[in-house]
Each structure stands twice: as C-alpha cells, then as structure tokens.
C-alpha cells in the first residue's frame, strides 16, 4: 500500500471510532470509556507515525506541514477536554462532536490537499514509505513504551 492509502485507512479507523462514540448514549458509560481509551491510543499512534515518517518525507513537496501540526495540536487539546469530561456528563456528547469536527477537518485537509501533493514523490517512494508506516504502526501497537505513554496520559488527563 502507498503511504497515503495507509494513512487514509487509519483515518477510517479514527472516523469509525468517533462515529461509534458519537452514537453512544449517556447511560452507556462502559462502552464510552472503552471507545474513548481506544481512540486515545489510535490517535497517539497516528500522530506518531505522521510526525516521525510521513511529514519529514513530504516536507519538500507540501507547504501544509505547519497546518497539519496546528491541527494535531487542536485535536490533542480537544481530546484532553474529552478525557476530562465524565462519560455520564450531559456535556460529553457535545465535546465528542467538537473532537469529531476537529478530526474531520484535519483528515479533509490531508486527504484533499496534502496527499495529492505527496504524489510528487513518485509511486516507488510512496510504496516504500507506506511499508515503513505500516511497520512502525505495528511496532507501536506492540510497544510496551507506547502502552505506558497512553496509560500515563489517560491518568494525568483525568486527574487535572
């Protein structure tokens, strides 16, 4: 798979999780907690593979890197708000919808603008980059350090 296809596939995972989370009701607290934790982990992995591999690779063909970083930041800040909001809080749904809008804008920016620009790298390079992204993604899913980071993040965000 080419790099942009790998990332679009992962965007679909993120969008799917957010859709499921949006569809939960205030009394489905266990389901909400589970989906929220999964989303936290997937977002952490996504940000990391983009920051580490994809963005440095497209630096010379896309002028949108700063925007992508700004959008990651906005997603991160809103995710923190979602983590701080209790799953049975009546405001939980509102905050999740805000996170969803933020994520949708970011994936739109990448899929409609940055990824077409990345095609300037050529098919071969994109295939190679795609393999690197998938390998790194698998590595992060298995990584103990990643699990620790996610757990620490979850704990601190709920404390403050």
């Amino acid at each position: 798979m080419k790099a942009d296809q790998v990332l679009i596939a992962h965007h679909d995972v993120l969008r799917g999780l957010l859709r499921q989370l949006t569809e939960t009701t205030d009394d489905q607290t266990a389901e909400r907690s589970r989906l929220r934790d999964e989303l936290l982990r997937e977002l952490e992995v996504h940000t990391q593979i983009e920051d580490e591999l994809f963005y440095p690779a497209v630096r010379d063909v896309s002028p949108l890197l700063s925007l992508a970083h700004a959008e990651h930041r906005q997603i991160d800040d809103q995710l923190a708000t979602v983590m701080r909001t209790a799953v049975d809080d009546p405001e939980f749904g509102t905050e999740v919808r805000m996170l969803s809008a933020t994520l949708h804008h970011h994936t739109f920016e990448e899929e409609e603008r940055m990824f077409p620009q990345s095609h300037a790298l050529g098919d071969e390079r994109l295939e190679q980059l795609g393999r690197q992204l998938q390998e790194r993604q698998e590595e992060l899913y298995r990584s103990g350090a990643m699990r620790l980071i996610v757990r620490l993040k979850r704990m601190t965000l709920r404390l403050v």
């Binding site: 700004a70 930041r73 509102t94 804008h105 920016e109 601190t156």
Partner: protein, 312 residues
Amino acid sequence: MSVRSRLERTLGAVERLQVLDGPGYQLEHGVALTYLLTGRFARPLQDLLHGVWLGHPLHPALVTVPVGSWTAALVLDGLDVTGRGGPGTGAAARTAVGVGVAGAVASAASGLTDWQHAHDGARRVGLVHAGLNSTALALYAWSFADRGRRRPGRARVTAAAGFALTLASSWLGGALSYRHGLGTDHADRSPEPRRFTPVLAESELVDGEAVGATVDGVPVVLVAQDGEVHAVGGTCPHQGAPLGEGWLHRGELVCPWHGSRFDLATGEPTQGPSTAPLPCFDVRRQDGRVEVRRRGNWRGPTATTTVEEASR
C-alpha cells in the same frame, strides 16, 4: 552592502533554518503539556497571555518592562562607573535589573504562548528570538545575583552583554510583527458591501453549519441557527484561516487552524489565540436569497455612500 540588506539576509537565513523544526516542535509539545497539566485553567491562562481581553497581543506591551528597566540599569551602571552617580546608584541599578528580570519572565510566558501557533519561517525566527532572549534573561539573572554578592564589575559586564542580546533579539521580534504579521489583524476590514448584496440562496444554508461565501470580494461565513441567520467575516483575524471551513461548538464559530472561537452575534473572540473580533454583517432574506451588508461598529458606522457618490 547597506545595513538593511545585511539584516534582510540574516532574517532570510534564520527563516530557512529547517534544523530548528525538530527542536521547535519538541518545545511546543512541552508548552502544550504544561498547559494541559493546568487542566481547566489552560484556556483562561492562555487567553490572558495572548491578550484576548486586551484586543491585541499582550507580549509587545509586557516587553516594555524588561527593555525599559534594563535600559535604566545600563544608564545607572554608566553613571556609577564614571563616578557621577552618587551613593544610591548601585542599589538603584540592582533594583532596575531585578524588575527587568521579573518582567522578562512574564514576557517569555506570553511570547511562548503566542509562538505556539506560528508557522514555518515565523516559527523559526520566533525560536531564535526566544533563544536570544532566554540567554539575555540568564545573563541578567546572573548580574542580579552578582550585585547582591558585591561583584559590581562582572555584574556590569554581564548586564551589558545581556543588553546587546536584547537589542538583537528585539529586531527579530520586530520582524515577527511587521514582516510576518504575527499578532496583527488579518480580517478583512474594508467597508464593503455597503448596501444589502445577495450572497447565496436561502436553500444553500444548512441549520447549525458554517457556510463560506464571497460577496463583493469579501469572504463571509453564514450560519443559520435557531431560526436566525448570522453573517461574520470569513477570514480569521489571527492568521487568516478560511473560517468557511470552520464549524460550530456551543453556538460559536471555531477556527479550523488554531481553534479560536467567535460569538456569532458580536464577532467577539470568546477564546484565543485570536485577539481581534470578526467583522459582522447585517442579514436580510429577500425572495429566497440571503443578502448581507457590512455592519457599523464602535470603530465607526459603515459608510453607505462612497466618496465618489457624495461628490456627485
């Protein structure tokens, strides 16, 4: 080569220092984490330091404290060295250095808060600006300690070096404001359209969603909400983001780039980083069309007559 073109080259070189991007993002992550750890205070604290309450960035106002105090300290040191100062001069210089250090810490906090959202060249210039200022701050802190330890000679040398760095760094700060337009108002402030002008069909509005359009070359955002239609400027005052790509949260318009939020009725920013309000437009519905007209505000009523029309 002229002074200006030398400076220009230096600025260009700093703007292209891509090696700064890695450390820059690390620093931003650090700032972001620090704010996250303040929990619910993260937003109010950042808005305070951006200057959302002030209407323009707080940082340039705060830096007058260290620059002024350290200039005074330089003068007092000069008087002391040449023996024209009188008995209290050394103590006065120490106080001035100390006040400057306190002001510099506050300036650094506001500067970092604004810098988080800078892009590309401006982000690199900002990082160098911050590095030079932090070095100057460290030199002045050392100088302040030396003044307490009765090491006046070394204290004056470190203060003078700190002053030189502050000047160089202020120049970069000026480039950030006047060249990169960081902190300036990027919204469209033209008086157009002065008369009700059709923008789009009523059927194109989606309840609870932001719709972007252009009227007389002016970007606007239309929002149908609770049976009312609001129209505000379509360019974020902070860094010019297309607000037509934004969305609504708790009835407010959210900027897609850095998350500024705006009240749709007044255009006021309810959350930074934007410190300036959005322009507002009067809306009327006519024969299935939505028409807008620039609304007058406290800065001045909108002229409904152009100069040419008035002179006819």
